[in-house]
Amino acid sequence: MRDIQRVGPYVDITEARDPLDSALVVKLGITEESFQQNVNNGQKTVVAQYFGMVQDCLLSPIHCFKGLKRPLMHADDKEADKSVIIYSWRPETDYVWVGSRFDGKPLPKIPPPNRVFVVLVREEKQPNDYAQVGKVFGSIERWNWIKEDPALPYAPVGWRDRYEARLWSRSV
């Protein structure tokens, strides 16, 4: 089991398929702020999903989209919606935390049919280059399940209404 890689503002760094070319790999980070929000809220299932389905799993996505079709302001950036990357696929296992943080455990679950898992990533405008890991392309912001599009397997339902563009799709 690999250790958590802390670098700069990120509590962990992982590899993902490059949004520009699915054959290539980029580095993504999850910021202390994003990760800690889940911890502060006691969302143990969300954190278990990170370790079981996000970290080390971002080479698995079948589709990659870019741009959210909704207003998104971040700091002074009124067009922050354009810099969001969305990965989607169908993991074989989901995790639900049962019990307390002391005596609990992640319960593996077979995901319900016709659902896909999405991970939202914010592309860094000026990616930093770190000696330990190189350039970090973006930050992992959120992950959850969405119903699957009947016309495009492994993609979220209504993806054309949700996202600006489909960057790539891989064969299963």
Binding site: M1, I4, T31, E33, S34, F35, Q36, Q37, V39, N40, N41, G42, Q43, K44, T45, V46, V47, A48, Q49, F51, G52, D56, C57, K69, R70, P71, L72, M73, H74, A80, V84, D94, Y95, V96, W97, S100, R101, F102, G104, K105, P106, L107, P108, K109, P111, P112, R115, L120, R122, S139, E141, R142, N144, W145, I146, K147, G158, D161, R162
Partner: protein, 146 residues
Amino acid sequence: MRNPDQIGALVKAAFAGTSGEFRPCAFFDDRLDCIRVVAKDCSILETRINPSLTVLEDNYFGESKDGKQYVGFAIKGARYFCSEHGFDLNTPIEVSALLDAVLKAFPDMAVELFVNGIARPLVSEGKIERVDVSGISGSTLHPARA
């Protein structure tokens, strides 16, 4: 791929030094400009009502003791929405007032069903009163802290 024991160890390490206790909460996700109200720690299925409103469902509600399907909601483009509806972004906002504004902004039956049938009961049962959209890190408001 990690096994459940490895995932469990990492989760426990992440929560070390905290109570790890989940409480219903309303929080502002600054980086995605989104208000989330979450009433249960579970695997979440997000279903869109419209581009600004999403209902959160328990992926396994049929197997859970409480059997509750709806466990939260999200208001997206929150900062824009709040400023359009006259809320002061620098002070915590009453969730009930926010829901009134949602009804006013989207006067259709689906939204009315969502607000009155799902969102208000969740907020009331979870005693979730306010949400802080100031964007200050760690600005989650739990009932006990609100």
